[in-house]
């Protein structure tokens, strides 16, 4: 890729120490591009720690609107002396490194292909601000000012952002304005501003917002009418419940009585959180729990219960790096199989795979409809990248005509007319039985159990009776295929090569396809949005000879699931795997596919025996 002057196409990485209050300065910088109409990507790489460890924030400015991590750094803001060496090494040739020259480091920072810019941030802030806290905080704001000068960011936009953020904190607002100018003026006075990288106002962000997936998922739950949330704190899912609580506080408190139209329970662990969700779902409330990998492991027994006893439940699994505790603040898509089959026995679960915060919102609502329609737990699998990073997405819209699909529920009037009610009878031949809410009507009573039961809901150890029920559950699984969202497909019948991917890989795949097309490689694309796979998934696979399955785990879990659930020849599914814990970028996908294509040509289009390529 060229390293020449680039407008609206560069990446800034800010290296910092966590716990120093840099987050708001970094957001300020990121939002400045957004407010100049330039699409932007913000990624936070933070440690599982509260204070004192290295943390990085990366801002990709992409006039073309690409949503993945760039995979290169043009401008490094090296604010953490501990990581100077690594940070310098990470700058792309022709790039810049900005550091705090209060403590000059001329000998350490020597790379000929990188320009070093020293700004005495600490010294300027120490001279200008009196309290220790302000000195630390304002250093962050000052570097935003310096970057604004160096990249020609509109200072009016920055000033307006500050006014908006600190509208209610007058003294902080004043300090921020001062600090911005400190950095800005120093850079203007000492360097040839702007650098060959500049931000230029365009109009590609109107009707868009910057939002993280956890907030969006929580909002989806609010709009779907979820009333019970049970949870146990775990990174990176915690902010789902934080957001749900604050939205509920805002929208769900009865104005007259002050009483709440929702109930949030912080459970003692994830087993309990799952039990609460089942109890509430059984009682007719829309209930959910957000969690992450270790929580899914703990919830497994009750998830199987929910499947077998047919109780609606919604889980939001914000995936992080496993196995075990793994890397809690790094991203991965490695719970696909664990969630698909969570629990012992012939258990399988409906899964949703949003690719962005936008889909977190819409799927966040869909999940409840599916759970109640299908009377089963539904797991929405997002990941840390979607959940905790701010993404630019189209503004969210809600159809006010929406009514929750409560599925097959018999109310008192319906029960009154019935001779008798049996919980697990397949009355409509779609394998979905009717349910009742406790307390509704004397005829609605039934016994819920995880032990063997027959179609009437009675305990059984009779082979045939048992099998009738589990066979129906399998048929219900087939029914589910017609309810879950189908895949997104980009298809040309002239092309026999394709990518299948999932969730947060989407941005990198879209970008990779564009780049590959530029070099003459056209590739079709299907993004699966749900499990069970509907028939389009199988058709798409059939229509291709060579398919790269792009996903973020070591063991090719999506590919395994495709092989398990379709009649495809495994040999044509090539795994493209990314599992270092960082959000996927296009470059890795492009390189792997180029290599494979080159190999394919060399072999004269030999088919079938490839093991694929692990990136």
């Amino acid at each position: 890729m060229s390293t020449g002057p680039r407008n609206n196409d560069f990446t800034i990485r800010i290296a910092n120490v966590n716990g120093t209050g840099s987050a708001s300065a970094n957001t300020l910088l990121m939002k400045s591009f957004f407010r100049m109409g330039i699409p932007v990507v913000g990624k936070n790489y933070f440690p599982s720690n509260i204070q004192g460890l290295p943390t990085w924030y990366e801002i990709r400015v992409s006039g073309d609107g690409y949503m993945a991590r760039a995979g290169r750094v043009d401008i490094m803001l090296a604010m953490n002396a501990e990581t100077y060496q690594k940070d310098l090494a990470d700058v792309a040739p022709g790039g810049y490194l900005i550091y705090d020259s209060t403590w000059p480091r001329r000998t350490l920072l020597n790379r000929e292909d990188v320009t070093i810019i020293g700004i005495p941030l600490a010294r300027m802030c120490n001279e200008r601000f009196s309290t220790a806290r302000a000195r630390v905080l304002m250093k962050n704001v000052a570097y935003v000012g310096a970057v604004a000068a160096l990249l020609d960011i509109d200072m009016e936009v920055i000033a307006a952002s500050l006014d908006k953020t600190f509208a209610k904190k007058a003294d902080l607002l004043a300090d921020n304005h001062v600090a911005i100018r400190l950095g800005y003026d120093y850079a203007q006075a000492n360097f040839a501003c702007p650098l060959p990288y500049t931000a230029q106002r365009i109009d590609k962000t109107s009707q868009h917002i910057m939002i993280d997936g956890n907030t969006a998922a929580a909002l989806g739950a609010v709009y779907a009418g979820a009333t019970v949330g049970a949870w146990y704190p775990i990174t990176p899912s915690t902010s789902v419940m934080d957001a749900f609580a604050s939205f509920c506080q805002r929208y769900r408190v009865d104005e007259k009585t002050g009483r709440r139209n929702y109930c949030i329970i912080q459970a003692e662990d994830e087993l309990s959180a799952m039990g609460m969700v089942l109890g509430a779902g059984w009682n007719g409330a829309r209930a959910f729990t957000p969690t992450s990998g270790p929580g899914i492991s703990l919830m497994s027994e009750l998830l199987g219960y929910g499947y077998f006893a047919e109780i609606p439940a919604v889980l939001i699994n914000v995936q992080r790096c496993g196995p075990s505790t793994g890397m809690p603040t790094r991203t991965q898509q490695a719970d696909i199989l664990a969630c698909a089959f969570a629990s012992h026995g012939d258990t399988r679960h409906v899964l949703l795979f949003p690719s962005s915060p936008e889909e977190c919102f819409y799927f966040g609502a869909t999940a409840f409809d599916l759970a109640e329609r299908l009377q089963t737990p539904v797991i929405m699998l997002t990941d840390l990248d979607i959940g905790m990073n701010d993404w630019m997405v189209p503004e969210l819209n809600w159809d006010d005509a929406y009514r929750p699909d409560r599925g097959k529920v018999l109310d008192a009037a319906a029960l009154d007319k019935m001779k008798s009610f049996h919980r697990y009878l397949d009355v409509d031949a779609d394998a979905i039985p009717y349910r009742t809410f406790p307390g509704e009507h004397p005829k609605g009573a039934y016994f819920t159990r995880g032990s063997g039961h027959n179609m009437y809901g009675a305990y059984t150890e009779d082979s045939n009776e048992y099998q009738e029920v589990v066979d129906r559950l399998r048929r219900k699984w087939e029914t589910a295929k017609s309810y879950v969202p189908g895949p997104a497909i980009w298809y040309s019948d002239k092309i026999r090569t394709a990518i299948i991917s999932i969730g947060s890989c989407d941005g990198a795949v879209i970008e990779a396809r564009d780049r590959l097309l530029e070099s003459g490689i056209g590739i079709n694309y299907m993004r699966v949005k749900a499990f069970p796979f509907d028939e389009q998934v199988e058709q798409f696979i059939e229509a291709h000879d060579r398919i790269y399955v792009v996903e973020q785990n070591r063991d090719a879990q999506l590919r395994s699931l495709l092989i398990l659930e379709t009649d495809t020849d495994p040999a044509k599914l090539l795994p493209l795997l990314f599992y270092d814990g960082l959000p996927i970028n296009a470059q890795g996908v492009i390189e792997s596919i180029r290599q494979d294509q080159a190999k394919g040509k060399a072999k004269g289009k030999a088919k079938g025996k490839d093991k694929g390529v692990a990136a």
Binding site: I265, A267, M274, G275, G279, A280, F447, T448
Partner: protein, 351 residues
């Protein structure tokens, strides 16, 4: 298994409760427990209590974990809503159910294994939340359903059927419940319906978490010589601390009590528990003295029974969460959903 076939016809003169129902209307499926199992007697006491309280069967949710004891909700109040959860997790399911609808009668049945081993955490946390339910532990000192291993309530030195002695100290559910902050803590014996029925009625009427530890012998695995949870041993070491009479809101206190001997406590629904001293000084409202009394008597090998501790001044879960009384499932979506206008306004913060 005991298949006690129940006569189909109801005696025309069998008494009716306020709902016009007879006790037969509160029975359940046929028990499949061993003949003589203490749990069946507890089932009988529950049937009688719920009948006498005139609870509409379908307004009751009966939950349990896993074990012989946890099977019993299938054997009482047929027309109530049963939820036989997984091993040790009934409290969380009951919590969620209660969060969604506080307007049902909640009764949980569990075993000593289900509550004190695998489910100890959930038991304690349900108490901390002061979940509004009656929680009955059918305590036999063993895991009945997995064939007689010692449970966490087995006393030091108690002997297993094959002779092995239990070497670990027991967990006393009553002292555990008291230290976790339960407001209604009782102990009884499956063989003493006289004592048990008023306790169940009071426990159901109590607002908040009520726990009754019922010694309920396992005739198959823990009813032999050397066991401290046998019928024989329990009868010999049974010490009622207080006698509790339960008086419904519509009834009057009829029994004559001597001055200073009885203490009536009024429950939130207007019913009363009249506590009567049986022997010595015992104040069921003084947490510290109750606790040490229980500790001392356990060391002496006594099984203290009755309503051991009572405190009606605690907030239950719903008072704390401040959730509306209406079942959450019945709130109209238009109330729950802020709508598109609100969404558009909200999004300003993300622009």
């Amino acid at each position: 298994m005991s298949f006690i076939t129940k006569p189909a016809a109801v005696h025309p003169r069998s008494p009716k409760n306020e709902l016009g129902l007879t006790i037969r209307d509160y029975e359940g499926g046929m028990s499949t427990l061993c003949a003589g199992c203490g749990h069946d007697s507890v089932t009988g006491a529950i049937v009688q209590s719920v009948f006498e309280l005139s609870i509409p069967p379908h307004r009751m949710a009966k939950l349990s974990g896993i074990g012989c004891s946890s099977k019993t909700p299938a054997y009482f109040v047929r027309q109530s809503h049963g939820f036989n959860t997984v091993h040790g997790r009934m409290p969380s399911v009951a919590t969620g159910a209660n969060a969604a609808n506080s307007d049902l009668w909640y009764i949980g049945v569990s075993g000593d294994g289900d509550t004190l081993s695998i489910g100890l955490g959930q038991f304690c946390h349900a108490i901390r939340r002061n979940l509004n339910m009656l929680y009955i532990i059918e305590n036999n000192g063993v895991y009945g359903l997995t064939k007689g291993q010692f449970s966490a309530s087995a006393d030091l030195g108690s002997k297993a059927k094959k002779g092995a002695e239990n070497q670990q100290p027991p967990i006393d559910p009553c002292r555990t419940a008291i230290s976790m902050g339960a407001g209604f803590v009782a102990r009884s014996f499956s063989g003493d319906k006289q004592q048990l029925v008023p306790l169940i009625k009071a426990g159901l009427s109590h607002k908040g978490f009520a726990v009754i530890d019922v010694i309920s012998p396992c005739v198959t695995f823990n009813d032999h010589e050397g066991s401290t949870k046998s019928y024989e041993y329990t009868r010999q070491h049974f010490h009622p601390a207080l006698h509790a009479d339960y008086v419904r809101p519509s009834e009057e206190i009829r029994t004559q009590y001597n001055e200073g001997e009885a203490m009536p406590v009024t429950l939130h629904d207007g019913s009363k528990i009249v506590l009567r001293k049986v022997a010595g000084e015992y104040d069921p409202t003084d947490r510290a003295s109750v606790y040490s009394h229980l500790e001392r008597s356990q060391q002496a090998g006594e099984i203290v029974t009755g309503l051991l501790y009572y405190n009606d001044g605690l907030k239950e879960m719903h008072d704390v969460t401040n959730v509306v009384d209406q079942p959450l499932s019945t709130i109209d979506h238009s109330v729950l959903c802020p709508g598109n206008d609100a969404l558009q306004a909200l999004q300003n913060v993300w622009r």
